[in-house]
């Protein structure tokens, strides 16, 4: 029952926020998101006590086709839920001091998005999962469209629309694949879909249908073209939701709904998929080096990082999957921090052009320190969370193929190049007219950075709880996926 509460509370919260009026919407939303965080902590407790009543719920929903309203958490789902409930209050807090038009709609949509995201992570029925997956698209579409920051409105409309069409197109093929599977499984539940034993050819077609959906969302090269423009044009709050949590939907779904469902299809396609991922890593990194705009640079860097996660996942080793889980969480935390830093620069100076910035550290030391820590975490410095993740992912990739592993390893070097160069050019050096009176962090801004930095170090030094939590779920997945 607790799980039901955790799932539906954001939906109720969204209604409450909408009713609370524009003036208080931000604070109400923050409060309710914190309640949700507390509820998910209770959920963790129930999970540790193996309290079956609280961590799963099953009710028949639709008779024909057989669709159950089946939600449950295993370690993997729980980690994703915790990531969501941890990041959403931070994302709301990051935006709270900003005045926005029609704030109640914005925050209601953010909470609606949280509802759909949690739904995606806890659904154990493919059809239910698909519905949440699609529903998540509607709030983010409106958030990006209506509160977007790009000045060129028609361009923004096109960019956001492209994002919508790409993801929807991918999802529809996933739906076809699920319908196809349903004929054999006579149900959409994980238990029915795992280990179906279709022929290799069928598995390959189903693989392609499902993979396109995830490849667009993650995104995997060459399905990434929606990403930089969308990140740039969306408001930062939307970018954080997209990069911090929504990308993880794709990666999580690889683990839950692709690898164990069509293992032979995966086995046939893996060489090509990993090559695509590695191409994406290198391509994203090189383009990131060439970017003059902080937000676009972060978009490409994010693209390169998730490429590595996907590559490690497809290596199908225990280390690769462990790395994927740890790095999903780490990337979620880090990327929110990075985009928040970009947002602060934008708010203070009105620009994100690297060439126009510089010397901010001289006037804003607190901000410079926070930003530095997050930059170092995202280039995977030891003792930060991303180090553990990237190390395991690269290890997984090496196990799959030494050469591909070596090439993928370039991501750390290239990542250091563009991140540190960006930091150097924006924060160090002499101040100029734009940055001379750059105010340092306010309390509420500092409050955004503190939990992120704590998470970076705690899980950088001691990632074991995360890995222990995920291990049983990964064992099950590997058991079905390696056949």
């Amino acid at each position: 029952m607790l799980l039901l509460g955790v799932l539906f509370f954001p939906l109720i919260a969204a209604v409450l926020v909408y009713l609370s009026g524009n003036r208080h919407a931000g604070k109400v939303a923050l409060g309710l998101a914190l309640v949700e965080l507390a509820a998910s902590a209770l959920l963790l407790n129930s999970y540790n006590n193996a309290d079956a009543l609280n961590i799963s719920f099953l009710a028949p929903w639709i008779d024909n086709p057989h669709i159950n309203f089946h939600i449950a958490v295993d370690g993997l789902s729980l980690l994703m839920v915790l990531l969501t409930t941890f990041l959403v209050p931070i994302i709301i807090l990051s935006n709270i001091s900003k005045t926005v038009d029609n704030a109640r709609s914005l925050y209601a949509l953010v909470l609606l998005m949280q509802f759909a995201l949690i739904g995606v992570f806890v659904s154990m029925d493919a059809f239910l999962y698909y519905i949440f997956w699609e529903v998540a698209l509607i709030p983010i579409y409106f958030i990006a469209l209506l509160w977007g920051e790009g000045q060129d409105k028609p361009f923004r409309n096109r960019a956001i629309f492209k994002f919508f069409v790409y993801t929807l197109a991918g999802s529809l093929f996933m739906l076809l694949a699920f319908i196809y599977l349903y004929q054999y499984a006579d149900g959409f539940g994980v238990n029915e879909l795992y280990g179906l034993g279709l022929s290799d050819k069928e598995q390959l077609f189903v693989f392609l249908g499902i993979f396109i959906a995830f490849a667009v969302k993650i995104p995997v090269f060459p399905f990434h073209t929606w990403q930089p423009d969308t990140y740039k044009e969306a408001p930062t709050i939307g970018t954080m939701l997209l990069a911090g949590i929504m990308l993880k939907m794709g990666l999580y779904s690889l683990l839950r709904w692709l690898l164990p469902v069509v293992p032979h299809g995966v086995a046939i396609a893996t060489p090509y998929v990993i090559i695509l991922c590695v191409v994406g890593i290198i391509y994203g990194s090189i383009i990131a080096i060439r970017q003059g705009d902080v937000k676009r640079l972060l978009a490409y860097s994010s693209f390169a990082h998730v490429g590595l996660i996907a590559a490690g996942t497809f290596a199908l080793t225990n280390e690769g999957l462990q790395g994927a889980v740890v790095q999903m969480l780490a990337h979620g935390v880090n990327v929110v921090g990075l985009f928040f830093a970009a947002e602060i620069i934008l708010r203070r100076t009105g620009t994100l052009e690297i060439a126009q910035l510089g010397g901010i550290r001289n006037v804003a030391p607190k901000f410079a320190t926070c930003f530095m820590i997050i930059v170092l975490a995202s280039v995977a410095l030891p003792t930060t969370n991303a180090f553990i993740g990237e190390f395991l992912l690269l290890y997984g990739a090496y196990q799959y193929n030494t050469y591909l592993g070596a090439v993928a390893g370039l991501t750390i070097i290239l990542g250091a190049v563009y991140m540190l160069r960006m930091y150097q050019k924006t924060m160090l050096g002499e101040t100029n007219a734009l940055t001379a009176d750059f105010a340092d962090l306010t309390i509420s801004e500092l409050l955004v950075f503190v939990p992120l930095i704590v998470a970076i170090f705690v899980f950088g030094v001691y990632p074991k709880p995360l890995m222990d939590l995920a291990q049983p779920a990964l064992d099950t997945i590997l058991n079905f996926a390696v056949r």
Partner: protein
């Protein structure tokens, strides 16, 4: 059978109301009457009997479709009092013709005999010819009526020709007798040609490609309310007739025409969608999107030997209520702006958030995005098609769903991202009621589809 008689009776009562000078009460009277008949119709649930030598069948398929048609008809009539405000003196005429359209539509979903099929089709079509021209001072309305009449009577001729050929072969008009004949006797070429001609007439009535050319012009020229009537009630009734005819006695001819039906379905979806892309009139956009929706319903016809009546009924419900909501909002907006362009919706998100939200939901449902009703409609249709092995056709349909998003979202973009200089939009209570009801149903049926999806 009772449903059909009472609906015709209601039409006559409305005509009398005109004579007795009761114009003020005619719309409420008609709506209440239709709802009463709707209730009466439900009492026929579970029966399976024929009346008048099996001219009219009372079975679940017919009862379900009659119920849907009556419901949609009642909703559209609620909109009519405001719509025909300027032509108050003739309102009773229009109301009674709309009810006769419904009577024809009900005959089309309950017939058991070729003669009844033809009568139903004609009653419905002739009423629509008149209604299309009901703005008689508007030249485009006249053009629509004329065009519809010429093309429609041509299709009726082809239908009659086909029925005659079938009669020549089987010596009966009765669907059951024809089915018996077909199952015991080897059919000849004449039968196949007859089926082909009936097929052409049916495809014309559901505005499937390549027999769709009349639809956009007629839809655009007719008054908006009548466009709504044509694209919901008339289209759904034609599909019910189409499905009933082919499942009850022409199933055997399906393999002969399988590739024709498949090609027509693929073309209908594709042409409808791609032509809709370039429209800047909302009415025309709905007309073309209606053509593509007909294509999706064709998928259920193509795979009908897998018993797809549930799928087609659910799709018809989802499409019907979303369309009524969209048309109701379009009527309100068009009345205030003075034209039917998509630009007329500019800034609706700011000036009338309620209307904008309702239209967004209707559009998302038509585009097939969960959790709204249209999504399950598409789901059921696709899953039936995959079950019967039409995977290629389904992929075409899926690609088209994505294209559909493109033009549907033009309206959403207009509402939320563009500014307007228009003044306040006024909306009457009847419209508010219909819009809210349709929106709620779109959500409810989407969240809990079981109730409808296993009806038949």
């Amino acid at each position: 059978m009772k449903t059909l008689i009472y609906t015709s009776g209601l039409g006559i009562v409305c005509m009398l109301a005109e004579m007795l000078n009761l114009r003020k009460v005619v719309v409420p009277l008609a709506v209440v009457g239709l709802l009463a008949i709707f209730g009466l119709n439900i009492t026929g649930w579970g029966l399976n009997e024929g009346s008048f030598n099996n001219m009219v069948m009372t079975d679940n398929f017919g009862t379900a479709f009659s119920g849907l048609l009556l419901f949609l008809g009642a909703l559209l009539l609620m909109l009519s009092s405001n719509f025909y405000k300027n032509e108050d003196s003739r309102i009773a005429d229009y109301v009674c013709i709309i009810i006769f359209t419904l009577a024809g539509a009900i005959a089309l979903s309950t017939y058991g005999n070729m003669a009844m099929l033809f009568m139903g089709l004609e009653v419905m079509s002739i009423s629509l010819y008149i209604l299309a021209g009901s703005r008689k001072r508007d030249i485009r309305s006249n053009e629509a009526a004329m065009k519809y009449f010429l093309m429609g009577s041509f299709a009726s001729g082809v239908l009659l020709f086909g029925i005659a050929l079938i009669y020549g072969e089987t010596a009966s008009f009765d669907l059951q007798a024809i089915a018996n004949y077909v199952s015991t006797t080897q059919t000849t070429m004449m039968f196949n040609i007859g089926v082909g001609m009936i097929l052409v007439a049916m495809l014309f009535k559901v505005s499937a490609v390549p027999f769709h050319f009349w639809a956009p012009d007629v839809y655009e020229g007719s008054p908006m309310l009548i466009t709504a009537l044509m694209s919901t009630v008339a289209k759904i009734a034609a599909f019910a007739a189409f499905y009933r005819l082919f499942t009850s006695c022409f199933l055997i001819a399906i393999p002969t025409y399988a590739w024709v039906l498949t090609a027509v379905a693929a073309l209908t979806i594709t042409v409808g969608n791609f032509t809709a892309l370039n429209q800047d009139s909302f009415k025309r956009l709905l007309a073309f999107s209606g053509i593509s929706h007909a294509g999706y319903m064709m998928l259920a016809i193509v795979s009908m030997y897998g018993k797809t009546d549930n799928a087609i009924f659910y799709y018809a419900v989802a499409y019907g209520i979303s369309s009524v909501a969209a048309f109701a909002i379009a009527i309100v907006v068009a009345k205030n702006v003075g034209n039917e362009k998509i630009d007329g919706f500019n800034g609706l998100g700011k000036s009338k958030p309620f209307l904008a939200a309702a239209l967004t939901i209707a559009i998302l449902s038509m585009a097939g995005i969960p959790p709204f009703a249209g999504f399950f409609g598409k789901y059921y249709i696709f899953s039936e098609a995959i079950k019967t092995g039409h995977i290629g056709l389904t992929v075409v349909a899926v690609i088209n769903s994505i294209v559909g998003v493109y033009y549907y979202f033009k309206v959403i973009l207009a509402m939320y991202t563009k500014d307007s200089s228009e003044s306040v939009i006024s909306i009457s209570p009847a419209y508010t009621f219909v819009i809210i009801l349709c929106t709620l149903l779109t959500i409810l049926i989407g969240i809990y589809p079981t109730a409808l999806a296993n009806l038949l």
